[in-house]
Amino acid sequence: MRKFLWLLCGLLFFSSQLQAQSRTISGKITDESGNPVPNASITLKGTSLGTTSKPDGTYSLTVPDNATTIVISSVGMAAQEFALGSSSTVNAVLKSQTGSLSEVVIVAYGTQKKKDLTGVVATVKAPDIENRPFTSVDKILQGQVAGLQSVAGSGQPGANQSIIIRGMSSITASNAPLWVIDGIIVNSGEAHRLGNNSNLLSTLNPNDIESVSVLKDAAAGSLYGSRAANGVIIVTTKRGRAGKTRFRFDTELGQNDIAYVNDKYEPLNAEKYFEITREGLVNAGTQPADMNNTLTGLGYNNGVDFNWYDAVARTGKQQQYNISAEGGNDKTTFYLSGGYFVQEGTTINSKLDRTSASARFTHKATDKLTLGITINGGYVNTRGPLASGNFGNPVLAGYFMLPSRPAYNDDGTYNLTASRLGNLHNVIALTEIDKRTQKDVGLRSNAFVEYNILENLKFRTSVSGDYNTLEEDQYNNPLHGDGAPSVGRAFSYYTRYFNRLSTTTLDWSQKLSKDYDLQLNLQVGYEAQKSSGYQNSVQSQLFPSNLSMNLPAVGATPVTATATLSDYSFLSQFSSANINLEDKYILSGSFRRDGSSRFGANNKYGNFWSVGASWNVDKEAFIENISAISQLKLRASYGVNGNAGIGNYDWYKLYGYGFNYNQTPGSAPSNVGDSSLTWELNKPFNVGIDVGVLQNRIQLSVDYYVRKSEDLLLDVPLSLTSGFSKVTRNVGSMENKGLEIALHAVPVKSKDFEWAVDFNFATNKNRITSLPGGNEIVMNTFYVLREGSSIQSFYLREYAGVDPANGDPLWYVDGTHQTTTNSYSSAARAIVGSALPKSFGSLTNTFRYKGFTLDAQLYYNFGNMIQDQWGGYYMGAGFGATYNKAARIFDRWTKPGDVTDVPKYVYGGNKNFNSSSTFYLNKGDFIRLRNIQLGYTVPASIASKAKLSNAFVYVRGTNLFTWVKDDNLPFDPEQGTNSQANLNVFIPKTITIGLSLGF
């Protein structure tokens, strides 16, 4: 097949045409400042004949004698036409295009002029992506795009970042956007099986990214068909520009500390812990003799007061180094880069380092034929502790370990005696003697051939793919901790995802009328994709006491030896069209037909489409004369796309194997299945306006959207008596409505001083519009799905405070809040807020004074609630009495008449107060100084003495300041999009100093 393709390309190659009699035009192209413009395009109007300018801006082009006009253009510059007279010299001064509407933006399967857009595409460019102290680009997008919510869940370097664009539209299927990197629809998200955190995007160095396009509505995204529902993020890596080879070196150094700390949740010291424990024992009616035994067992008066929280928290180091080279000539351009990034988390045992490289070559073999390849990859080495309720989780140890349990013996060695650790684990020792690592390799490559069959007919085909491997290793030593009972154990898990695509497109553009400027752009395409997952898992036990012998090969007893596969495939045909009348009226349409292995036999193929229209009002005569208005554009779009983010084999009715007994094979029902299972429908409507006034000193975009999601992929809960807990079906519908505002203003602009303001704001209102039978569904015990309410609605018993008479916890028996009960089971659950914010966005101020720049971005998030899943242990009125408590426990009731919200402390617990309720739910509103950077550009006169073309130094703070609305919020307000705190590595604040040099 591929041979045939190359043969065809070869044939096309030899079909170039002979020229008639000719003459040569030459000249120099400069910008407004007089600098040469390399790589500008010089073409003979109405033909494919053309060339590009050299690094010094000069060009020469041989044209037929009868040629009349040449067109000179360059990226980011306004194209100009020159009538050819007798002179053979044509010099051009290209002007920067004013206004964002003239920009070219990257869209689905190609590029488009911004003025031609009917859809909503937000673009983030390299300067806002480079040199951030983040492990992956998804974290960098926070606050940069209106309506894109990016929330950290863990401060573990390399952790996954949840991104939601224009609200959550799926209950069970993925809510993650589709990531397309250099044309590759990549596997993204979490891929770990043994570790806690992995993010396949971590292998991509953000410094290699040239631009990120976020496709938000139907007109922009529907071309991706059954996977466009959650929005599409198109990442394009850097490409070289022709000219003298330019080098660039960037580096930064810094450190990470915990971004948000609430003193109310500081773990107790020994004196305080024993004070409350003694009180709790008295309240529990313990006899004095038993009390002393219990206190002694807990280490009372043993002279130890160890602060575990301080011992697990730390200041982490942060560094990165990036070097790149780019250059080339009019035929061939290249970009090469290498990078190294290292980040230590805010708790012991959390670290990531990445080594990455990127290369792109583009070669114009003939005027018609262009070849190119991009390849980039990274090797990521992560060290991460256990998380959530594991004894080996350092954060858990920080809150749970008693101050009377020492990490070290008197002789300075580690305390590894279980009884002296309250049977929890000495995480300080485990950090050194256990092992938990993950090594990820991610490679992405795209090779393409582009052939201009005719001037207005372009054929492009590419073969691309991404390849990810994860090697996860864990060793638990035989002396202490999780490995002790099995005398040591080690795991090695290997995971590989190989995903490849073949994409072919044909682009045709045609002027449709002689009388009007009526232009048609048409694209047809074909794409096939297959992703193959391969996983194998090994575990063995019984290890020698030599702690360096830590791979499964050493273990005497093999325990796990499994391997399995997980594949999916897509086959798609697609087409898009765009009609433009005099740049005033633009009509667009798209269509895609997707087939997927994930869809049930009865529903293998689906059709997805969009229509869009825009009106460039500023091109109308009645506006053109109003000089204050530089842009005015109205847009609207509607369409249908899908969400195919379900498990690869969810539609099958299944009996699984591996339910083994006495080491003989066993089978059991493993999936209910539904052969009609298919994509979830998403129908986004968008209307928007773009306004620019005063030479675009003020630019405003406002969009309003309504997304209706139907045939939701929903895990319908089953009666547990069926033997199953759920089945995935296409039932239910939902709606997301919202408003997005993006404002860019330059209040002051002078030679030496400039002040720019960027503000974005987004609201989202989510509403479930139908559920099977109209019945509400309780999800994961903490959330409820109910018609008319938001997805991710917390569904909890409502805490009513403490009975002043006896210190009992009280809950409301129903929503009227009239009657309280001290019986937890008798209290009713109610919807008490949503995990999703009502509004969020950012405000960025940028100041430039001569060589100095100051950037400050505030990120804000309002209207969600956050649940602390572990609060019952350290605030639960004596529940988990043998674990340490938080300072706030001293707000407890002590005597009749006390009015407080923390019940009487009873050793062992007070009437299920520890169980989930609104006591453990806090307001999630916060404002955070996401980014502040002070930079200085060294004057060219000085830089050039050091043979530098430019030099820039900066100091940057990230998450330096956090304001939260709720005084009782125990942990960082960023807890993923499900807003549940889970004792993860603390989110960091970072200070870095950096240097960027060009030469």
């Binding site: 097949m1 065809l8 529990a284 313990t286 006899q287 002694t296 067992g297 009884s419 049977n423 069959i453 005719l454 999780d482 009972p485 099995s486 073949s502 074909y526 019984l542 325990v559 999916y568 495939s569 086959l571 087939g595 292995s597 293998k604 084999y649 099958y652 009715k653 299944l654 009996y655 699984g656 339910f659 083994n660 007994y661 006495n662 094979p665 066993g666 089978s667 059991a668 029902p669 493993s670 209910v672 809960p717 089953l718 009666s719 547990l720 008596t721 069926s722 033997g723 807990s725 759920k726 019945n775 309780v778 937890y824 089971s825 008798s826 242990y873 674990y883 062992g908 617990g909 169980s915």
Partner: protein, 477 residues
């Protein structure tokens, strides 16, 4: 457009067509480690594999969403509740917070262990139903597998009905369990009466007894294991005549032999499944590969593992005379330091092959025969109970009347301690739970009428099944 470029377009069309032509098989990707239910249950050999999967479900509980309830079947929770909710095992002041709410009698309707047990046993019931209903032609092996499935289904219902419904001996017409014998994922059942559940259990055990002919090993049901379970079912129903008949059928006609004092410690130290028919009538096996790892029963009781949370109640320990071989399973020690306590050493398999969970032992058949004989033949009762005391180095029982009955109940407590039996005895006997001072003062006497004497129908079941919502157990509404 000239002729040549037409050819180019034809060429492109060929390319697109070539890609498109391979479409059908390209989109058909079958699951790598699973097959359809029809394929999985189509032959005799398939049924054998399915029975292993069924037994595996008795050992390891289910996962719901991303939460694992692996310990909540017979692998840990079921045997543990039988002693912690009673008066045998209490939580040490140094503990990892497992089963605290049961030690303290404060579990709410949302309790995870109650959810896990319910979901896990109904998942096993589905596995058994599928084997029973599989359209495979009968032969001796197929009958054996179906018989085992009947027995497992009976065991699951018998366990659930005793934990989630009031005792049969109190009132058989109170709400029992939803009865599920065929697969219908969308069925939202109501609770049947307790009597109906017991009728199904007895019907299943009769089927099992009739169909089975083989004894494979101690970890699988056999003909007389089904009869032994039925003896316990009748005892629980208070049907002493049938209990005695069934127990004696196992004693007299079954292949099992009693363990003696000399072998007693070795018997408990053995983690392997038995083919020698010594003592164990049926047990749920945890092998060296498929086991609950840290969540195994042994980890909760043994001091050599990570937890060792539960200890022997002082009143139970004082029942063992110095010469009683059973006392050697309960060594004394300190936890925390300087606090003398008694450890539970019945389960020692921490690495490799884990300790199995004993469900039915021959010794219990003698104890059932003794208890069921008290009312009609005291001499027999004394004879049967002393078959046990004489094999443990304990003093022979010689009492009569009510004292004899009490001695037999006490002998059950001693013999079956930490095997999940004691609490269910107190349930069928309609007695208060009266616990030693080892337990928290607020939870030392749990009246028979206390609503927490049975577990809540899990919140998740109430949420998913509208037809059961009005049938929650008293006190959890």
């Amino acid at each position: 457009m000239n002729l040549f470029s037409k050819y180019k377009l034809v060429g492109l069309a060929v390319i697109v067509a070539a890609f498109a032509s391979c479409s059908k098989s390209f989109l058909e990707l079958t699951p790598p480690t699973s097959v359809s239910p029809e394929t999985a249950l189509s032959t005799e050999a398939d049924l054998l594999v399915a029975t292993k999967g069924m037994y595996a479900g008795l050992r390891t509980g289910v996962t719901i969403g991303t939460t694992s309830y692996a310990p909540d079947a017979f692998g840990r929770t079921i045997p543990v509740l039988g002693d912690v909710m009673a008066d045998n095992a209490y939580q040490s002041s140094v503990n990892t917070n497992r089963y605290t709410l049961y030690n303290n009698y404060t579990f709410p309707v949302t309790d995870g262990n109650a959810l896990g047990m319910w979901a896990s046993l109904y998942a096993v019931i589905l596995r058994a139903n599928n084997i029973i209903n599989a359209p495979v032609d009968a032969n001796a092996n197929v009958n054996q597998y179906k018989g085992e499935a009947y027995a497992v289904r009976a065991l699951c219902y018998f366990t659930l009905v005793r934990y989630y419904a009031r005792p049969y001996t109190e009132d058989p017409n109170k709400p029992g369990l939803p009865i599920i014998t065929t697969y219908d994922p969308d069925f939202k059942p109501e609770r049947s009466k307790i009597a109906d559940v017991y009728a199904l259990i007895n019907s299943d055990l009769n089927q099992a007894y009739t169909l089975m002919t083989l004894f494979t090993n101690s970890s699988q049901f056999s003909k007389y294991a089904a009869k032994a379970l039925q003896a316990k079912v009748y005892l629980t129903m208070g049907d002493m005549a049938n209990a005695r008949t069934a127990a004696l059928d196992v004693i007299n006609n079954g292949p099992f032999k009693l363990v003696g004092a000399a072998d007693y410690v070795a018997y408990w130290a053995n983690n392997a499944i038995r083919e020698d028919k010594l003592e164990t009538v049926f047990e749920v096996s945890s092998d060296a590969v498929s086991n609950l790892a840290f969540d195994a029963l042994s980890y909760l009781y043994s001091q050599a593992g990570n937890y060792g949370d539960f200890l022997v109640a002082s009143d139970l320990y004082s029942l063992f005379s110095a010469g009683d071989v059973r006392r050697t399973l309960y060594p004394t020690g300190e936890r925390p330091k300087n606090t003398p306590v008694v450890f539970i050493n019945k389960y020692t398999g921490l690495a490799g092959d884990r300790s199995d969970t004993k469900i039915l032992r021959l010794s219990e058949m003698y104890l059932i025969a003794a208890e069921a004989s008290v009312g009609t033949n005291e001499a027999d009762a004394i004879k049967y109970v002393n078959e046990i005391t004489s094999r443990r180095g304990a003093a022979p029982i010689a009492s009569t009347g009510a004292a004899l009955y009490e001695d037999i109940i006490t002998e059950r407590r001693k013999e079956l301690a930490f095997e999940g039996d004691r609490y269910l005895d107190l349930q069928r006997l309609k007695r208060d739970v009266v616990r030693s001072t080892n337990y928290p003062s607020a939870a030392r006497t749990i009246a028979f009428t206390n609503f927490r004497r049975i577990l809540p129908i899990p919140q998740a079941e109430m949420d998913a099944n509208p037809n059961i919502r009005s049938q929650q157990n008293e006190g959890y509404k």
